[in-house]
Point group: C2
Chain length 276, copies 2
């Protein structure tokens, strides 16, 4: 069995694992237009924490700041557990690349909180919207040429797909789609982190205009343990994303990811740069 | 004119300002039950960035991770600009307190993104709910004994106030309220950051049950420049908060803050620990 492209993208080497220093190489399979797909970078930040031998619990919160696009090639990841409590652990992560004159080039900062969960009362105040089942929704297959990462996912847009015409007509900013890895792979925290960044910039939908745009910072909260992820397996997630405020070059979008059975597995927010 | 309590709480000293190292003292005025009001701590993290001489632009995104409650007394803040681009700047912030044996005690990690904004197309997809004007809504005045920070704010709950009876009846998790500083003070980025953390834990409302709860991490996006804040001045903000998913000890809540004129100034999300 060959290694899944996502596992190749997440592969990290280490010399002294307790020091939390890892090295990796950007993946052509998850390349976006001017750098790696942000979701893959977020997953790498999380992966460095999950690989650390001092890890407590499972992921709870992940914030990734995209300071600069990674260039194709090797990178360094430093994961540091800065505080361990009884039920939570706080991490800082930085991804750098070798820069001119040997000075490391800071590309990504992140913070991660992991937690040892206990069974408690639970409830959802964000029920899954009623949508047609995945099998009845046509698969999206026309990625812009050269955007490799889009081919790594099976996306079935229910509503709010990428505008067919860039005619400048103002619309709403909500998308709903079924999604999963194109090549089957059981859901885990890293792939859930990546899928949280799967939604194209809301400004394109809102304006039906293809302006330059890129995520500046994303925060994802995980609402699942290993059992909930195992229940999904290689099944679909329902993703929903909506824009909130568009103001002078930056907007935010809120995203929700449910299992096909309707369990809200992750909530995510990001702030995105746009031009014009 | 005496100094406003919020400005006292934000007062930071520095020896070498270019090194980004500041010292401060926790404020009894903004004390919560077992430490400072998280909003005040978030504001201090932001303030350290705003005071730094290398600052580019105005606040765009702020993530604050509450690793441990600060103890009453002095603290250290380290603000570091890790990457400066043409229109965005990325910061890491850490708040520590002197610990046993001289080892610093990590209480708070934060990341901040600031941005030089340009005028662009803009729109809101999150209109302000229709609510009665502030003057017609009764002010909330019964804070739990000993919770000083509640007295620093004028809150006028429209719906979803703290349950009058802890009878365990399941309800919704949405609150709407008018709010501003109790002692008048023109809105700025730091007070907006603090007000984003002003909503009591949604789990109390959802369950009408007073369980132990505390914010683990908060992320706030700013959708305003100095002109939009100046327009608010000492006026009211409409705050809205709602829970999303409650699962095994942690839930998230989404918050929105509009000016009285209906401009969405900030969107904020937090993940919160709860017991039972």
């Amino acid at each position: 069995m060959s290694t899944h492209p996502f596992d190749k993208a997440l592969a990290l080497e280490h010399s002294d694992i307790r020091a939390g220093h890892f090295t990796g190489v950007t993946s052509p399979d998850y390349w976006n237009m001017v750098g790696p797909f942000g979701g893959a970078t977020a997953a790498i930040a999380l992966q460095s924490v999950l690989r650390h031998p001092d890890l407590l619990g499972t992921p709870l919160a992940l914030t990734v700041n995209f300071a600069a696009a990674l260039e194709a090639g090797p990178f360094d990841v430093q994961a540091t557990p800065v505080r361990t409590n009884r039920s939570t652990q706080h991490w800082t992560v930085q991804i750098t690349q070798p820069g001119a004159g040997g000075t490391p080039n800071m590309t990504t900062t992140a913070t991660v909180v992991t937690a040892a969960r206990r069974e408690t009362w639970g409830e959802s105040d964000m029920p899954m919207p009623e949508v047609p089942p995945p099998e009845s929704v046509k698969r999206f297959s026309i990625g812009p040429a050269g955007v490799a990462w889009l081919d790594r996912y099976e996306m079935r847009p229910i509503s709010g797909g990428i505008p067919a015409k860039w005619d400048g007509g103002l619309q709403h900013s909500e998308s709903r789609l079924w999604l999963r890895d194109a090549e089957q792979r059981p859901l885990d925290f890293c792939s859930l982190a990546a899928m949280s960044d799967m939604f194209y910039p809301r400004v394109w939908l809102r304006r039906a205009k293809h302006v330059p745009a890129g995520t500046v910072s994303i925060t994802t909260y995980f609402h699942a343990g290993p059992a909930q992820l195992a229940e999904v397996g290689t099944g679909y997630l329902l993703g929903r994303a909506v824009g909130q405020q568009f103001f002078n070059g930056f907007f935010d979008q809120a995203a929700h990811l449910w299992s096909e059975k309707g369990v809200l597995l992750a909530t995510s927010n990001q702030i995105v740069y746009y031009k014009e």
